[in-house]
Symmetry: C2
């Protein structure tokens, strides 16, 4: 079992990473002051619910907790205002009060949706993240919660830190391989922005990670969460530093949008975005190795490093213009300067990005 | 012109109260760092919009601001998730970014709705309150923003402090008399919880207030805002002290609900609620004067102090059970102990409240 703390003053909270935590949820809830008088709402999706909801609910009930559950459809479309309203309705009908908590059992979709419901219900009640995807090592830490609007992703949201993150590695065994790789993209990202050593370790251990080797995976998720936690501690509301977590995301978000949020998974899109960012880094003076290592490590994790040719460059640039990071004709862009280091460029030329997007279609597949 | 500051560390903000502020909005925006590069969204309702939107918009545009406006229906039903979503759509289409602000031009409905949109859009952008009702001297200060759910009022919300409150007293001249009285209920409330002297002053000046005498009204709104600001400064998120602002609201909210949010205005409902609370205070040992003064001052302000006989007591008690302030069979209730002083009773018996509600139907009309 690994443990760490997100340091945020009175909003600090623990992250537990280990095997069998689903069974022990009641113990950790109790330890961190989640009382048994007020009902808990467990939010999950159809897929994760089928696999793990009974286990979690029966453990909690056996320990004396009252629980009610909401099962949303699997996939990004559940991050909607409609589902949000539905959760509020269920919370009201179940009599959730200010001492209740909402529990997110699932990937980033469930975490973002349930978290936003917890942020809004009675102007904010407690919220517990129980991530079941690798990607969610990123999304469950840091308190960004949101739902989508038909015109823009994550545009309706809040900063609402969880009371606790309980990460049961056993649940990851049922993850489809493509989701495993997608999640590893954010692990690689955390290395690329903060630790050359960790990137070298992934380079060595990518096969173990893809095979979900418990020891390797536990370490990788611990390290990823730690990087995220440190950055969030320093800049909770993304006034500045926290923006470095967007490495690969400016291009990545646009690719997701142009692909209709179906063709590319989030991690796949940002993998391509990170290759693009590395290329720009090298153009601007970073050692060529930044680009080579980025591409190699991502490919080893089973991620795409080239943009499928049918993606329309104009459409991609257009999607960037609608992204939150776009301001007054130029854009904010996270640029690698070395493996383990990046800078925030607040004045990146759209022209340069456009050229790189074009080049991404001609990348050689690494490995 | 009167000015005061809500002290909340880095979230502190000014309140300006005076005549002609609608015309000078651009000056104050500029003074407080609202830039001209990013578009502003003005939210108002049909009634207020007809009277004041052009004036505000043309002043801002003349000063170089880009503005877009959203006009919602007048009345409580505009505080819905549907209208909220509509505002987000308008904000997106108009290209609002992180440096934009949303401006609430109207009463508490517009303030709560626009404020919640500002809290959610991109996880929170700036928001400016331009109250046009007397009631909104209360709702525009303190950062509570929310929309309603069909099953419960204000259940979907946030704490999101405005960047500024700009209170143009001239706009109050068009307020219907019933709305004037309703707003005065919250002014009286601020006196009852904090200042016997101010209550005595209202007792003397109620006629001037109802006639919208600029000097009297300016002083009353200044004093009301000051009480509210002081309490919010000490307990922004209603962990404890802030609850005293709910004087009269436990019964009042239930009356609004049972009356279908149409029969009684908010201030009317809480006026009756404050008479009930005063009665309970006296039962529990406060001087009888607490009850008499409360009733007299409210009546002088043109407010009801008796519950219409057709209100069903069971329905009222039921509505209280759904209120956020109800916990485990007992209820939290604000009890006056003297004029200008109240205590938070976290263990009020529902039986006692029920008896008082019954008695409220038999009150003599004061004056
Ligand atoms: N809040 C943040 O800081 C943040 C950061 C990154 C990403 N996100 C958000 O996270 C979302 C993506 O998260 P995600 O990749 O976890 O997607 P997801 O939640 O949709 O999960 C991916 C798929 O895997 C299934 N699944 C989840 N756990 C499983 C398990 N243990 N076994 C079998 N199947 C399982 C799900 O049902 C789903 O079909 C996006 O909406 C993104 O915007 C948020
Ligand atoms: N956020 C808070 O802390 C807080 C506190 C108290 C009340 N509230 C909320 O405030 C709302 C009630 O506010 P309200 O009483 O201002 O209601 P309101 O906003 O509905 O205004 C009342 C009516 O007066 C009209 N009006 C407003 N200004 C006018 C003007 N200058 N001239 C002519 N007509 C005008 C409006 O169109 C409306 O029909 C409720 O939803 C309540 O929940 C919030
Ligand atoms: Zn991401
Ligand atoms: Zn009120």
């Amino acid at each position: 079992m690994r443990e760490l703390t997100v340091q945020l003053g009175e909003r600090s909270y623990p992250i537990y990473i280990g095997e069998g935590l689903l069974d022990q949820a009641a113990f950790y809830f109790d330890k961190h002051g989640i009382g048994k008088q007020s009902p808990l709402l467990i939010v999950t999706d159809e897929q994760v619910g089928r696999l793990y909801l009974d286990k979690l609910e029966s453990g909690l009930r056996a320990a004396g907790y009252r629980t009610v559950s909401a099962v949303v459809p699997a996939g990004e479309q559940a991050k909607s205002l409609l589902q949000f309203e539905e959760l509020i309705t269920i919370a009201l009908k179940a009599g959730l009060d200010r001492k209740s908590a909402i529990i997110a059992l699932g990937g980033g979709v469930v975490g973002d949706l349930a978290g936003y419901a917890a942020a809004a219900y009675m102007r904010g009640i407690r919220f517990i993240q129980m991530p079941t995807t690798i990607l969610a090592h990123d999304s469950s830490v840091g308190g960004k919660v949101a739902v989508n609007h038909p015109l823009a992703k994550n545009i309706i949201g809040a900063f609402h830190q969880p009371a606790m993150v309980l990460y049961d590695l056993e649940t990851l065994r049922t993850l489809p391989p493509r989701e495993v790789s997608s999640g590893l993209a954010e692990v690689v990202k955390h290395g690329l922005i903060r630790s050359a050593e960790f990137v070298a370790w992934i380079d060595e251990n990518a096969d173990k990670l893809r095979a979900l080797d418990p020891e390797a995976l536990g370490y990788a998720l611990y390290f990823g969460c730690r990087v995220k936690a440190e950055i969030v501690s320093q800049d909770e509301r993304e006034n500045d530093l926290r923006a470095i977590l967007n490495l690969g995301h400016t291009i990545g978000h646009a690719l997701e949008a142009v692909g209709g949020y179906g063709e590319l998974l989030h991690g796949e899109a940002i993998a391509i975005g990170m290759v693009g960012a590395a290329r720009i880094g090298v153009e601007l003076g970073a050692p060529r190795e930044v680009y080579e290592v980025t591409k190699r490590v991502l490919a080893k994790c089973g991620l795409p490093v080239r943009l499928p040719a049918h993606f329309d460059t104009d459409a991609i640039m257009d999607a960037m213009r609608h992204d939150k990071k776009f301001k007054e004709g130029r854009m904010v862009f996270i640029v690698p300067t070395a493996i383990g280091d990046v800078v925030i460029d607040k004045n990146m030329s759209a022209e340069r990005v456009r050229r790189i997007v074009e080049q991404l279609k001609e990348e050689e597949q690494a490995q």
